[in-house]
């Protein structure tokens, strides 16, 4: 009952309620810009909920990607478009609502019938010493289920290139201001350093390549928001964007050719291979997201 819940439950309840309200406002406000603002609030609140669920790495990605970069993309889409109402038609919305409702029913059913049983997590912790990293999340991501992550990187790469090939010839939003320029220049080195640190932290604690990459993408976008181009050639940015997929599949193929099997690292080489893969995913995530913002290679 509500009056028996503790303070922490009240906090969770308040967060959930605020999430719900922001989602509702984002869907139902007339102005598209306002919808975007409420979507950013929605992303930030769901990040806070991830923190409450003790998943800080998901929270990091959710706040950076779900609210900051997606918000920027929404604003970029809205800005300068003559069409005031960018929202879907009633029929599409009904369909989306129907499918979401089905998923909700399924989740509720699943929640009520779930049994406490031995999860796969204990298997992960038993085999952690064979993975070459100390963090369970990254052991699963890059060693035990490396194939999934490879496909995931492929999906991100394909999505961004699909976005580019749509050819939205809309100029990236920027604000030409000396203060913002100075600030972004001052903060970019710290952001690069900190994102590398988060990537490195992924091998033994909370963190990882996607988190670090998303953070670096935020820094790069801040740099570009001040109307500055990155001092890099287009070909180098292209190489960076493809680095994750390329290095990951090359290492996988290398081990396959050496007779270990695709993406099956031998124990003594696993830490260094995972480190190399993480670095490549870091740089390519960052530059893929930057490309999604700038709209050109």
């Amino acid at each position: 009952m509500l009056w028996q819940t503790g303070k922490k439950d009240m906090l969770d309840l308040a967060l959930g309620l605020m999430l719900f309200i922001s989602a509702l406002l984002s869907l139902h406000s007339k102005d598209t810009m306002k919808s975007g603002v409420f979507f950013i609030i929605f992303g930030f609140l769901s990040g806070l909920i991830w923190v409450r669920l003790e998943a800080p790495d998901v929270a990091l990605v959710e706040i950076i990607l779900g609210s900051a970069i997606t918000g920027l993309l929404i604003f970029k889409l809205v800005k300068g478009s003559k069409q005031k109402d960018l929202k879907a038609f009633t029929f599409t919305r009904l369909w989306a609502g129907f499918i979401s409702f089905l998923i909700l029913i399924f989740m509720l059913f699943h929640l009520t019938t779930i049994e406490r049983q031995d999860r796969i997590a204990s298997l992960v912790f038993e085999n952690l010493h064979k993975s070459g990293v100390d963090s369970a999340v990254n052991a699963v991501l890059l060693n035990f289920r490396g194939y999934d992550t490879l496909l995931e990187v492929g999906v991100i790469t394909l999505a961004i290139f699909g976005l580019l090939s749509l050819g939205l010839k809309r100029e990236a939003y920027y604000w030409d201001n000396p203060l913002l320029k100075g600030f972004s220049r001052l903060s970019l080195p710290f952001i690069v350093f900190f994102s590398l640190y988060i990537t490195y932290l992924g091998t033994f604690s909370v963190g990882g390549a996607f988190q670090g990459g998303a953070l670096l993408a935020g820094g790069l976008v801040l740099f570009a928001l001040a109307g500055q181009a990155l001092p890099l050639k287009a070909s180098i940015i292209y190489i960076f964007t493809m680095a994750g997929l390329g290095v990951f599949s090359l290492i996988g193929l290398l081990y396959a050719l050496l007779g270990y099997g695709f993406l099956t690292y031998p124990l003594e080489l696993s830490t260094i291979s995972i480190m190399i893969i993480e670095l490549s995913i870091w740089i390519s995530t960052a530059f893929l997201l930057y490309t999604a913002y700038s709209g050109k290679l």
Binding site: W175, N177, L179, L180, F183
Partner: protein
Amino acid sequence: MAFEILSIAFMFIGAIFLLAGSIGLIRLKDTYSRLHALTKADVLGFGFIVLSCILSTDLLSHWIKLLLVWLLVISYSALVGYALANRKKRYA
């Protein structure tokens, strides 16, 4: 003990400043006064909260982290306030 009381007091003062800033954001009439209320009260309230957090731990690493967070937040707050006011002035 004295530190704990001081820490709680600072947290309370910080919360009051943040609350005042939020009320100002909602209640004041035009953009500039709203921004004024928000950014000023934000910096002060957040500073008190950081001070209270510093008083409640003994670890030097926590102090440095909290000070860095404080520095980041006040610089962002100032920049965002400037950006909004500038936007308002130009495209009023």
